[in-house]
Symmetry: C2
């Protein structure tokens, strides 16, 4: 299991290339939920999501022999672009396996960073199969999306930046997909803010981590139907599970309707665009699921890469 | 005519109540136009637009006798909310004359700050008539939208903040409606950045200031059909004209299509929501109307209060 020192090391690696994203506030939001709320705006991060942090930390840690072989990742979303940009900055060739149905703008985004895109069938089984083939046939080095120490340490640098801007924090709300973001930030936050409670947030349909936390074993669910596409992973990873049980205080859920309402609030009142998964942790704060009052809380906005057609539908 | 010292004085007045808005950057934007671009994000300002700066500076300057009488303003847009919030903070009763057709969310926003809303017919003649009546009958003090020294000085505090964050600036692009924002910021910028060129930007249909600058006299146009609702004023003010001729280096135009493209770029790439008028100055930079290269430039985003229905249409 990683320690805070791994995240400090990751921070020195990623600091020169990531944006330090702002902590946003809103008097209306504070009044609505009766707490002092900070939103960590990773929608303003490079590639539009936190994923660049872990991907860069991972690829930067490879030996020069490994870098020469090139890297492979499978993703239809932000991890693809994170790996593509990180590899490009480090002069490493990246191959990204994407489902045939991936949105054209995400395919174009990934290619724009110089990555080769290999298409596969839409199931996650086929994604893994094709990525595995490329790993063997071409000798490519895999960059996993979340179940990896360097990835987890990289994602944990979000909390390092939060602690540069606020001294005291009672609650940190983090969205959970495969568990990379919450694992890194739970380890970091518990060192940086000794009294903080770290809360994972999922949508109701994508509640595998909610069940996992209560059963104390990894629960795998069927592919969930949720608007939060970053939460369509069926279970969290093994390393992520170990950190979850040791460092996370609770896992809660919000409805897809609350996510949509939150996206609208962020657009209309705070003038920012977030993707559905990015609105999940703010929604838990806005609707005050934990019934807190007078606390300093922070919710992580994981990203802002929403499909314009979906955004239109939401409006 | 106001001097920079008036803007410095205004800055001390408004500093405790306005947000210091960020200067946003985008590597994609820089690459696209081959300049180093900063966007001053007044869409993140209180009430969602710069108008709070001038309104607060004006109302704070009133005598206690005037404050006791209350203030009146006419506006269908951001000035209404700016006056309403500024008056509310200062404990002054505000009456806002709004056209019957004003969007319900703007009426609700204005009322939410405790202002009384009086409806009038949709023509700007009727707005002025009703506001004039209230001024006489109730003894209310008018808060003009732009042709006023205290309003101009307040709006000029935008440039004071810009100068806190960047040392050198070659070009400052400012959208022009009635001329309050550009007048204050032209005076301020020429003191803060001695070599800066200050450029006004309008949409092609709303080009009264473009014509005014060239004719060297105030040109009044018919109500322009432009997506940039903040530019539907028919002419700039007298005080604004005087400053324009002395401090502004050029006035240029962009098409409504470029404004819509810019709004999309800001949503999709920079994850921020701006109103059409707020995208006008960035559009001039993005499309590099002046054919600059390698310059440090800043464009002011005037606000973010876009009607969700219009935003939907744009997407």
């Amino acid at each position: 299991m990683i320690a805070f020192s791994d995240i400090e090391a990751a921070y020195h690696v990623v600091k020169p290339i990531v944006h330090k994203t702002p902590l946003l506030t809103s008097a209306t939001l504070d009044r609505h939920c009766d707490n002092r709320v900070f939103l960590k705006a990773e929608n303003f991060q490079r590639i539009g999501a936190f994923k660049i942090r872990g991907a860069y930390n991972k690829i930067a840690s490879l030996s020069s022999a490994e870098r020469n072989r090139g890297v492979v990742a499978h993703s239809s979303g932000n991890h693809a672009q994170g790996v593509a940009l990180a590899a490009s900055i480090l002069g490493v060739q990246a191959t990204i396996v994407m489902p045939k149905s991936a949105p054209p703008n995400k395919v174009a985004g990934t290619k724009s960073y110089g990555a080769e895109v290999v298409f596969c069938e839409d199931s996650s089984d086929d994604r893994e199969r094709v990525a595995g083939l490329l790993e063997k046939e071409r000798g490519l080095v895999p960059v996993p999306p979340y179940d990896d120490d360097m990835i987890i340490a990289g994602q944990g640098t979000v909390a390092v930046e939060i602690a540069q801007d606020i001294r005291d924090l009672a609650y940190l709300f983090v969205p959970v997909g495969g568990g990379g973001l919450i694992a890194g930030n739970a380890v970091a936050a518990k060192s940086l803010f000794p009294k903080v409670k770290v809360i994972g947030v999922e949508t109701e349909a994508a509640n595998d981590c909610y069940q996992t936390f209560r059963k104390k074993e990894i629960v795998r669910i069927n592919p969930p139907a949720t608007i939060a596409d970053g939460m369509r992973t069926q279970s969290i990873g093994k390393r992520n599970f170990e950190i979850l049980m040791e460092y996370v205080d609770d896992v809660i859920t919000v409805s897809d309707e609350h996510v949509v309402d939150m996206m609208k609030f962020l657009i209309e009142r705070m003038k920012i665009v977030v993707e559905p998964t990015g609105a999940v942790a703010p929604a838990a704060v806005y609707h005050n699921v934990l019934k807190l009052a007078g606390k300093t809380v922070c919710a992580v906005i994981s990203g802002g890469n929403v499909d314009p057609a979906l955004l239109k539908k939401i409006l």
